[in-house]
C-alpha cells in the first residue's frame, strides 16, 4: 500500500519531471532592446534578423523591444536600477561604462573569444573585461550635396566661405545641432570640431576642457554658428530632412545618416569627404550590445550574441548599416560601393576616429557633457566668451572628481 509520504514524493517527482520536460520543450525567452529597432529603414531589417535567429533554432526566443533614442539610456537605467530591464541592450557607448561601473553588465569575454573584432570595440573594454560589442560603428565626415557644392572645402576657412556662398534662396550652407534640447547631439557635433583641432575633453582622466586645442575647436563651432549659415532652431531631424530635399549644402554627420537621407528621399544627392579641419581626428559614435546583469537567462543572451557575431550574421548587419560598420571586419561588396561610393570615406576614418567620451572619465560622460554643453550654450547666446566658459567648465568638471 502506498503511504501518504510516498504518494507526496511521487507527486513531487512527477511535477519536477513535468517542469523539466516543459523547460526542455519551451525556448528560453529573452528580450532585446535597441533604439535602432524603431528606425524607419534599419528597424524592420534588424527585426527581421532577430526573427531569423528565432527561426534558426528552438532553444532561445528573442523578443525585440523598441525605445526611442532620446530616452533610451534613462529608460534602461531606470529598469536596470529596479532589478529588471531587457536581457540584451544596445546601449549608447558611454552608458556601457556607467552600467559596467555599477556592476550591472555581464562579461562578454566568453562570447568574443575567438572572434576578430574591429578596433573600435576596444573602447568597450572596462577594467580588462569586454562588456559590449558594437551593433554599429559610425565615423563622422563631411556630407555634402554634390549638385550644390562643386568645390569641396579642404580647410576650415574654405568650409566657412563655401557655407556662406551656398546660403541663399532658401538653401543653408551648413547645419549642426545647437540647442539645449538636443544636448547629446550638440556634444557629438561639438566634439568633432574639438577633435579636428587636436583637442580632447580629457586625457588619462584629467579634464582638458580649457586647453588651447579644445578652445580652438569650440571657437570653430561658434564661428560657424555666428556665420548665419545654419538653419537656427532646426533640430537634427528637421535639417536632415532639409538636406534630403536639397536645402542644406553640407553637414558633418555620421556614416549611418546617408541611409536615413535616402530613406527620406531616394534621389537625394549625397557625397562625402573628410571633415575640413586642421587634424584628421574626428568623432565616432557607437551603439554597443551588452547583456544585462539582471537577465534571468544570461546563457540564452550569450547564445544570441554569439550568433550575432558569426560572419554570416555580421555580413547581413553590415548590409543594412550603410556607411556604418558592424562589430567585425566585413569586406564591402562591389555593388555596395558602386551604389554608395561615399561609404569608402567613412570606412577610411576608422583609424583616426575617437569616441565621444572624455578619456579616463568615460563613466562621467553625462555629467561632463551637461557641463560643457551648458557652457557652450552660454557662449552661443553671447553671455560669455569661449575661453571664460571653458575655464568655468573645466573647474566644474574637476570638482566632479
Amino acid at each position: 500500500m502506498i503511504d501518504r509520504r510516498n504518494l507526496m514524493a511521487g507527486v513531487a517527482a512527477l511535477a519536477l519531471l513535468g517542469s523539466v520536460a516543459a523547460a526542455a520543450a519551451e525556448p528560453a525567452e529573452i528580450s532585446f532592446a535597441a533604439s535602432m529597432l524603431g528606425e524607419p529603414l534599419r528597424g524592420p531589417l534588424l527585426t527581421a534578423l532577430v526573427e531569423e535567429f528565432n527561426q534558426s533554432q528552438d532553444a532561445v526566443h528573442v523578443t525585440p523591444v523598441t525605445t526611442p533614442f532620446s530616452s533610451f539610456g534613462t529608460t534602461m537605467f531606470t529598469q536596470m536600477g529596479g532589478g529588471g530591464g531587457p536581457d540584451v541592450i544596445a546601449f549608447d557607448q558611454p552608458n556601457i561604462y556607467a552600467a559596467a561601473e555599477a556592476g550591472l553588465l555581464v562579461s562578454l569575454d566568453e562570447v568574443v573569444d575567438g572572434v576578430t573584432l574591429l578596433p573600435g570595440n576596444n573602447s568597450l573594454i572596462v577594467d580588462g573585461v569586454q562588456y559590449g560589442v558594437a551593433l554599429d560603428i559610425s565615423n563622422y565626415a563631411l556630407i555634402y550635396n554634390p549638385t550644390l557644392v562643386t568645390k569641396v572645402p579642404t580647410t576650415f576657412d574654405e568650409l566657412v566661405a563655401e557655407a556662406k556662398a551656398q546660403t541663399k534662396d532658401g538653401v543653408y550652407g551648413f547645419a549642426f545641432r545647437h540647442t539645449q534640447a538636443e544636448e547629446a547631439g550638440v556634444w557629438y557635433d561639438l566634439s568633432n570640431y574639438v577633435y579636428g583641432n587636436g583637442g580632447h575633453w580629457a586625457v588619462d582622466g584629467n579634464p582638458t576642457i580649457n586647453s588651447a586645442e579644445t578652445i580652438a575647436g569650440v571657437t570653430a563651432y561658434k564661428t560657424l554658428y555666428d556665420a548665419n549659415v545654419i538653419p537656427k532652431g532646426a533640430d537634427a531631424a528637421t535639417y536632415r530632412r532639409m538636406f534630403a530635399e536639397g536645402k542644406i549644402a553640407m553637414m558633418i554627420d555620421n556614416g549611418g545618416i546617408p541611409t536615413v537621407l535616402k530613406g527620406t528621399n531616394p534621389d537625394a544627392a549625397i557625397a562625402a569627404a573628410p571633415a575640413p579641419l586642421p587634424t584628421k581626428a574626428i568623432g565616432q559614435v557607437m551603439a554597443a550590445l551588452a547583456i544585462n546583469g539582471n537577465s534571468k537567462s544570461p546563457d540564452a543572451a550569450k547564445a544570441f550574441m554569439k550568433w550575432f557575431l558569426t560572419p554570416e550574421t555580421q555580413a547581413k548587419v553590415q548590409g543594412f548599416l550603410g556607411g556604418s560598420t558592424a562589430a567585425t571586419p566585413i569586406a564591402r561588396t562591389k555593388e555596395e560601393l558602386e551604389k554608395a561610393p561615399y561609404i569608402e570615406v567613412f570606412d577610411s576614418l576608422g583609424d583616426v576616429a575617437l569616441p565621444f567620451m572624455p578619456q579616463g572619465l568615460e563613466a562621467e560622460t553625462p555629467q561632463v557633457r551637461n557641463i560643457v554643453v551648458e557652457a557652450v550654450m552660454r557662449v552661443l547666446a553671447g553671455q560669455t566668451d569661449v575661453a571664460a566658459a571653458m575655464n568655468e567648465a573645466q573647474s566644474q568638471v574637476e570638482a566632479l572628481r
Binding site: F77, T78, G81, L104, Q180, G233, A234, N370
Partner: protein, 307 residues
Amino acid sequence: MSSHSHGTQLARIHGSRWLPYMLVLPGVVYLLVFQGIPLLQEMRLSVSNTSLLNPSRFNFIGVANFSRLLRDPNFFNSIQVTAIYVAGCVIGTIGLGLFAALLMDREFTGRSFVRSLIIIPWAAPPVAIALVFRWMLNGQYGIVNRGLEPLGLMPAEGLWLDNPSLALITVLAITIWQLFPFTAVVILASLQSVPKELKEAAQIDGAGLWAQFHAVTWPVIRPTVALLALLMTIWSIRRFELIWLLTQGGPVGSTNTLVIDLYRRGFIINKLGEAAAVGMVGMAVSVLVTIAYFAVANRATRAEKMR
C-alpha cells in the same frame, strides 16, 4: 438577523467613539502608503549618494547633497526661474481666468457654446500641447513666424523656445493658455453665487462697473480666487511634462525649474541622492506656501467675524 437587531447594531456603531477614526482610516492608509512612505524614502535618499543604477545601495553622506546645492549656481538659478514661472502662472491664469469669467457671466448669444469651447485647452493633454506648440514656434517652418514675419514682429533669428530671453516667457504664455480655462470656469461658478439683488441695488445707487466689482462681486469670489492661487502655486511648482517637452530646461537654464533640475540630476546624470535633495527643497517651498495661505485665510476669516 431581524431588522430590529440590525438597527440596534447600526445605532451602536453610530454611537461608537471609534467611528470617526474608522471613517478616516482608508484615507490615512492611502496617504501613508502613497505619500508618506515615498516621502520618507526621498528624505532617506537625500542624505545618500545613491545612483539611479543602484537605487538600493545606500551610503549615508549626511548633508553633503544640500551643501553641494548651496554652492551650485545652477540650483539658485532654478529657484529663481521657478519663482518667476510660478508667479507668472498664478498672476496670468487668475487674471485671464477672472477676465474670461466676467465676460462669460454676461448675457450674450452663444454663451453656452463659448463656455464649452473655452475648456478645450484645459482638457487637452500637455504632451499634445507641447508638441503642437513646438511645431507652431519652429524657427524654420512654424506658423507663428510665418504670421509675424510680414508684420516685422519676428524675434531675433525666428527663435522662441531656443532664445534665452524669450524661452521662459514663451513657456509661461503656453502654460497660461492651457490653464486659464480652469480658473475661468471655477471663478464663473463662484460668480453664480453673487446675489443679483445686490448687483441691482448697486446699479440703482449709481455704482460704476469697477465699484460694483469691488464692493459686490469681489468679496463673494475672493475665497475661491485665494484657493485657486494656492492650487496654481503648488501645481506650477510641480509642473514637469510641459516644460520638459518644450525646452528641457534650456536654453542656458532659462526654463530650468526645480522639478526639471530634479529630473536632470536624477535621471540624466543618474544622481538620485542629489535629485532627492532638490525634491526636499521643493517640498519645503510648497509647505511654506501652504502655511502662508492658511495663515492669511485664517486672518481674513477672523477679520470677517469681527465686522
